[in-house]
């Protein structure tokens, strides 16, 4: 005896943070994401400024410039890995949809 399909409850879709461009829900996750992006941007700006100051012979020590660029690189790399994880998880979940 078969169960009628219509009585199977639909699989609940998990709440995902909206992708860039999607309007509306300012979830907590998006807040974290955008502040992370801001701080990456800020570190990259600091690094770019530092390189510029070093090259134009202003008062910038080489180690300051090197460290600024390293920090920016690490922040970016971290952001990249997190983004990859999020995308992987999203795709994993999308595969589950019937």
């Amino acid at each position: 005896m078969t169960t009628p399909i219509s009585s199977i409850a639909p699989i609940a879709m998990p709440q995902m943070a909206p992708a860039a461009g999607a309007a509306g829900q300012p979830g907590e996750f998006q807040g974290v994401l955008s502040s992370a992006i801001d701080s990456i941007q800020s570190l990259q700006n600091t690094a770019a400024d530092s390189v510029q100051k070093f090259l134009t012979g202003q008062n910038e020590e080489l180690h300051t410039t090197v460290l600024a660029t390293q920090k920016a690189e690490l922040a970016f790399e971290l952001g990249l890995q997190v983004r990859n994880k999020v995308v992987d998880a999203y795709q994993e979940i999308m595969k589950m949809q019937m």
């Binding site: 020590e61 180690h63 300051t64 460290l67 390293q70 920090k71 690490l74 922040a75 790399e77 971290l78 890995q81 990859n84 994880k85 992987d88």
Partner: protein, 112 residues
């Protein structure tokens, strides 16, 4: 993210650079009449919460003065030269180790 330890290390390296510049200047002026040895108060500059401020150099007291008014002691400057260089080397190695650790932590999370 990194700033708690590397912030201190970076400030340390800033001050060592500043001090080494002063030592180089003292050595260059070892025979300049009337020249007084300069230095900076390392520990108090390091403890100072204002990072990014220029460290203040001041004249060193207690050094014997030669006939022409110069008080540079090459022995003292040579010792400081070596010490600053070694400390800078240590700090930069520690820094590199910190950066590598963080880098490993980030990349270690990469999914296979």
């Amino acid at each position: 993210m990194l700033d708690s330890v590397t912030g201190s290390l970076e400030r340390y390296m800033d001050l060592l650079s500043a001090r080494q510049k002063i030592v180089a200047s003292n050595i260059a002026n070892a025979d300049t009449p009337g020249f007084k040895t300069k230095d900076l108060d390392f520990q108090s500059e390091f403890a100072s919460a204002l990072s990014g401020s220029q460290p203040q150099a001041s004249e060193v007291t207690g050094l014997p003065v030669k006939n022409d008014g110069n008080n540079v002691s090459l022995d003292r400057e040579a010792r400081l030269l070596a010490e600053n260089a070694m400390r800078f080397s240590a700090a930069s190695n520690l820094m590199r180790s910190q950066l590598n650790t963080v880098k490993e932590a980030i990349q270690g999370g990469k999914s296979a």
